[in-house]
Symmetry: C2
């Protein structure tokens, strides 16, 4: 296949892997139990590294690939890519922010509605034929309920926008108050939670946010 | 058991029936196979009639109840109440518009999301333990899809407002174009359908709208 070698350091969906394979000499890091072997054989031909939020390229690895032109993250996160090193060597870094924002926000609202209106339970109720013996019990409405969002980034904002369509008062918690936001800010997660009917977690998972939702 | 007689001409939920029963001498029309018997015994004491979209009070019946002060419809529809006769005799008529608008609109969006994202199927997939053998297949997003609404009344408008939060272009069909609406109007259901990814029926069921969705 092509003379350009592309190194996968993380798994991508089969379709993408196939397409890359058609166009390039595709290498998979997991085929090389020893990194030294990979570097000996291919360091001179690898021009692209494809990773994600959990696998990228550190400074040492970047230095070992003299022909490297691009490090691509197949997700929003670029935490595993040494950005300073890339900048220094003029290596492009790409990621995929916003691609999934709408989908995640859609699904958040979908799951809230499914939970409040017990859509999955009702679905089973109908499929099991229980509707013949009576109506499904009443559920509760989403519209007008107070929604608290932890993390008002791209996804949190997209969720808030959708919830507004349901006339839900929105409030949020984040590390710092967003001056440009019209939503009510709470400086603590606990305060936000106690003032919300529905609590949405839309922050990145970091050491700081790990277990942000707990018994407290 | 008060001295005021209230006549139910349609079934209401048990809780409401109980509450009415606590406060008034509650009569149920189905306990009187002969209307004449009901009238003979109670026409002098009935001061309220409670019905819904399918059962109300016609002119003859209203005339037969000299003490009637109010006809209440336990739904939006007042089709079965002779409004002219009530006006003529100073009888109040009440109904319950808007009470369920938000709920119906919420559920419409909830079902659209559940369908597109296959939430019920995914729920079964997880509950059956299939997640252990692999990810659920990809589904499709709601955001940005064109939504066509048949009937831009209270409920249609509430659905449109929610869909806007998902950045969905909205168009609609109704008997007449609504000048105040910013949504795109199609003068035919077929045209609307062929220009929509998602079609929502939000019109009353009448002879005119019966089978408005068909193979054509």
């Amino acid at each position: 296949m092509g003379s350009i070698s592309v190194l996968l350091v993380a798994k991508v969906i089969p379709y993408l892997e196939q397409e890359l394979n058609k166009r390039y000499n595709l290498l998979r890091i997991w085929d090389f139990p020893q990194k030294s072997q990979l570097l000996t054989q291919h360091s001179a031909s690898i021009r692209a590294v494809v990773g994600n939020a959990s696998a990228g390229a550190d400074a040492e690895f970047i230095d070992a690939l003299p022909k490297l032109e691009i490090v691509s993250s197949y997700s929003v996160g670029v935490d595993m890519i040494d950005l300073n090193k890339c900048k220094e060597k003029g290596i492009r870094v790409t990621n995929t922010p916003d691609v999934l924002t709408d989908d995640v926000a859609d699904l958040a609202i979908g799951l809230i509605l499914a939970l409040l209106r017990r859509i999955c339970e009702s679905d089973r109720y109908v499929r099991n034929g229980n509707w013949k013996s009576g109506d499904y019990k009443l559920t509760t409405k989403f519209s007008g309920k107070t929604v608290g969002i932890i993390g008002l980034g791209r996804i949190g904002t997209a969720i808030a926008k959708r919830a507004e369509g349901f006339n839900c008062p929105i409030s949020y918690f984040s590390r710092t108050q967003k001056q440009e936001s019209k939503y009510k800010y709470y400086p603590s997660v606990v305060e936000l939670a106690s003032n919300s009917d529905i609590l949405v977690v839309a922050c990145p998972l970091t050491e700081e946010t790990h277990h942000i939702i707990n018994r407290e």
